[in-house]
Symmetry: D2
Subunit: 364 residues, 4 copies
């Protein structure tokens, strides 16, 4: 069984409390056999904690249970800090609180904290204070702000003491992750990066996909937190902090390019006299059907560009992914083309709209 298989490759000691023994072969095979894997993210899928060993043995990943599906989770008794209450952070903190975690919050504009304090959160006056008061501090802020949040005055570094955990959830470049990891660990702290794939809606629903790398013991300590906020989580066993950022950038690169492609299809349909709704109906009957296509297109056809993920951020992700290809001498012509379309969208003042507003770059 998968358990035996795992023995030879992964240290199992720390995993025991995570009950990996509950996992059965069936679940594992379900994830390995594409014909049985549910295609939609809305459907119930097995979320029991497990270790998946790849055949190649190159990396290992874990998927956590989701409270959004199971209904409850036993919260960790560690004190949780959370920095940043934006599109993503708000939903995450709500779910942490709902599942009984003790959470101290901080936000650049303090008013946003009020709502969460009413729900039971405590207020931290500075990032340094939050880190000092808590065992594990998460950060989920604007990518531009992530580094300053750590290095700045009253920043995270001021509060780091040996044993403190810092979990960077913002989607930043791998180099920044490496730098932050070194800074935190050089003071005795423990570092995990845990960027998330998803949107405001999925954050609210506790259905994010979490991708973690770095200190595995931190990942395990965060178990109930990730279950509260996510549908599933992956831990990249091989590789250092920075690899989750790389993976996330590539995923967002694909998403950004696909979004631009779909917008190109919708607008070409219109430009050639076709019905956009019919185009969408057919698309959603075919093999490319996905929650993503369906929701984004519906929003476009309704003229609803309320941000679920900021257009400016997907453009930034494209830029960083292209730059990764640059360093690896790997051409990324699709991402390069998409990046230019998003730049046009930004020039049309769509930066703070949803990524689907790239549609407007095609009609103006």
């Amino acid at each position: 069984n998968s358990d035996g298989k795992g023995d030879s490759k992964v240290k199992k000691g720390p995993l025991k409390p995570l009950k990996i023994l509950e996992e059965d072969d069936e679940d594992l095979s379900a994830l390995k056999d594409p014909s049985e894997k549910p295609a939609s993210s809305l459907e119930p899928i097995s979320k029991r904690l497990k270790i998946i060993e790849e055949d190649s043995g190159s990396t290992s990943i874990q998927a956590a249970d989701s409270t959004a599906i199971n209904g409850s989770v036993t919260p960790t008794d560690k004190r949780i800090g959370f920095l940043g209450l934006g599109l993503m952070g708000s939903g995450i903190v709500s779910n942490l609180l709902k599942m009984g975690h003790v959470v101290t919050v901080w936000n650049r504009t303090a008013e946003k904290c009020d709502l969460f304090i009413q729900e039971g959160a405590r207020l931290g006056r500075t990032p340094a204070e939050v880190v000092s008061m808590c065992d594990i501090t998460f950060s989920c802020v604007d990518p531009k702000a992530a580094r300053d949040l750590v290095l700045g005055p009253s920043g995270v570094l001021q509060g780091i003491r040996p044993g403190k955990c810092y979990v960077e959830m913002s989607t930043v470049d791998p180099e920044t992750i490496t730098e932050l990891s070194q800074l935190v660990t050089s003071r005795g702290g423990r570092f995990l990066e845990a960027p998330v794939a998803g949107s405001q809606q999925l954050s609210n629903d506790g259905m994010l996909v979490i991708l973690a790398a770095g200190d595995r013991t931190v990942y395990e300590d965060c178990s109930s937190c990730f279950q509260a906020m996510g549908k599933t989580s992956f831990f990249l066993v091989l590789g250092e902090a920075g690899n989750a950022a790389r993976m996330m950038l590539i995923l967002n690169m694909v998403q950004g390019s696909f979004m631009a492609t779909v917008a190109e299809g919708l607008t070409l349909a219109q430009a050639t006299g076709q019905s956009q709704q019919t185009f969408l109906d057919i698309l959603c009957q075919g093999q490319m059907a996905s929650t993503f296509v369906d929701q984004k297109c519906q929003n476009i056809l309704q003229g609803n560009f309320k941000p679920d993920y900021y257009l400016k951020h997907i453009q930034k992700d494209l830029r960083l992914a292209i730059s990764m290809g640059d360093m690896a001498n790997h051409p990324t012509p699709m991402a390069a083309a998409a990046n230019e379309v998003y730049k046009r969208a930004k020039a049309l003042d769509q930066s703070d709209n949803d990524i689907s507003a790239v549609y407007r770059a095609y009609i103006h």
Copy 2:
């Protein structure tokens, strides 16, 4: 209800035998509410014949029942001809025969007919003979051959008589459809274009998505045939023959660009030291999860590039879609970038492999 609504926009007479009165509001709303629409093409969805009136009123579409799901269909008593037994045609003819249709087949290399004759098909010696012998003749051939099949010696035109139906299922450019439509109707024939979205596998499974435009009475006469071969079919009520070709090219443009984007992601993952399998696992947990992504990526990781849809054909479709944008003065930078990647794949001898072989353009 939808029936009353339809009255004012669509001629209802010919639809009666198709039992549109059986349709209920629930089914209609299911297709209109994205949150309830099943995202996966693998799941059972309502396939009862219906008319969907768009709110915009710009086009109307029909979805046919599928025998692949319902198990059976009452075959038409009209004599069916079928020209072309390639990747798509073979599966279609098998399904027509299984559902009890009387089918006369022709193929450029006649040996391919043998298998189907054993299954009960009759042999036509030339396209003209097939058309002469049958009431409705379908054609599903290499796009390059479609025009010659009609105009050439012993071609379709030689067999067209008043009342004969010709259904062009090959994915060709809209201009060719317009020309063929005019040629067929000028001789008293009835013309329908009915390109399909799908692959060899879906063809074998009777799960194609059919997109039709042209003579609506032909569409209705083909009802049992489309149910035998397809999961669903759409008829573009407004617009002439050529519009289905346009729509299909745009869909294939999106598919081709997306395939290139996914290949770009997979290869960038590898180039930056990530696990391709992990990349795929995460992708298939997220909102972009789809049958298409899952199957294509699995095939790529297994090095399986057996053609489900020829790479050279998706490249041709990209070219034609770009050309449509050209005529409409509509930029298509994503398709333009994708087209160049596929051209590189063709230069690497991947023309007759599956579209997923575009992956190789990124690693050579």
Copy 3:
């Protein structure tokens, strides 16, 4: 010397009347040694008729004298016809008349002929009539009209008789050239393609660069005409009619892509707070300095987009060149990117402006 060298590779008979013996080694070497070759098209260069044998032996070319530089030429006594008095045709006909040719003109809108009749031209009522009346008929029309001009009612084909020469100067696709060549020669006519590189200004100045392929005897019969209209001419000894079209499309592809690149540079300079004039001044001091860069940029900075070469035509040329690459499985990512920028310019109503109006695609 080059003469002796030529003996082994090129039929010399027909060249005698063209006095190739006058050519000397010095001239030849001047063209072969890049360090001595004048880089600017404004400078006097040797235009004496000569044959240049390439070392590779793959093709041979001829360069004709220019009357614009030598001041005069002995006009052929053959009767010349000219179809099309647009941006290019007007200047060409003026120069033919100035050098003493007997010219019969035709234009779709007949009023344009008046000016030239005042200068001594005769009026032809239809293309067929012009061809009937003349020994050599040139055509220089909108690419879209070139085929109809030959095949249409009262078209060129109606007037072709054995021995008549038809010279296609319009920049069309190679396939059209091949078709026209076959049609003309099948009636006993003699066919030459002779597309030109240049602009309205260069046409007026008799400074076009002519690129010919097809029937070499027609090329020789056109000697005084090409000298009247051009700075130089090339005949592609190896290869059939269609090769000049291919070469011209590639040249225009490079020009179109370069124009877009320069516009991109000018606008990026402005977007980042630089002076566009300074950018241009520096550019014109460097190795990339050329008449093209200088004139186009000056026009852009003055807001002068009067057509020297229609933007819609360079976009068409890009499309055709990309299509050539398509057939040869040769990626052309620069042309593909440029094509999209020109499509945007067309969507901004710049079709009938100069190619430099692609600048506007970058600022809107």
Copy 4:
């Protein structure tokens, strides 16, 4: 006259020793009238020192005399330091020495200094020592090394004292220039950026084009140096240090995109059965003719990819220019396409070849 005109806009005091009074209207107009401006960089053009006031008044520029043309210059009596003896630096130092300057050199690999010491240069053991010993220190190193050269151990900053001049000639990003400028001036030093357009050949010939911004008095003190190394120089009167870097990046972006376009043309010619030499001959007869096209194409056809400007550096410049567009929300689709082609060339091991080796990305 221009002198009077200049009075109202530019401080003239410090310019007197540069003899701006010698300038006459003719020269000025020659640069302003495109029809008279020599298009080729090989021809003698007026190099007398002058100030050119743009009509817009937005920026002002100066062009310096060139000793390469005038034969001699009066060298400054200031002690000159030079850091970096690579492709560019070697030629520059040779020319400084030839014109009688007192030069102290330093290079990372010290052996390269020997040749110059034989020609009369002095040896500096560290960058700090060179700066300490000299009045004006130039740096022209690999872009990656430029920042470390200043900040590193025994770096430039260690030697900066009030009044010392530091001239950064490496082509780096504007942000680095801004940082270096601030560091140098914060210690009382005077800073000028002076990136050059050109190649190893032009550097050897003393025919570089220099683009300067920053401290104008440094520019003036460098007058004899710039005359020794350059054909002309420009000083961006308005704007701070960093603007010359911006301008240079845009120029290199245009050059890199153009080079890729020309390679695309050459290879498409071959792929479609044309002669590359004929293609080049025609190109060099047309309006796009330039030293750049001529030399690069000749080298390509001879298979000579010896670096005149490193391919890896033009790719870096493209990346930085795209990034500038990113910050300004200005799409640069041509540069984005070119960047991907250069990345492919880098993946084919062409990094240390000349930029013309981008040709190989099209044939592999």
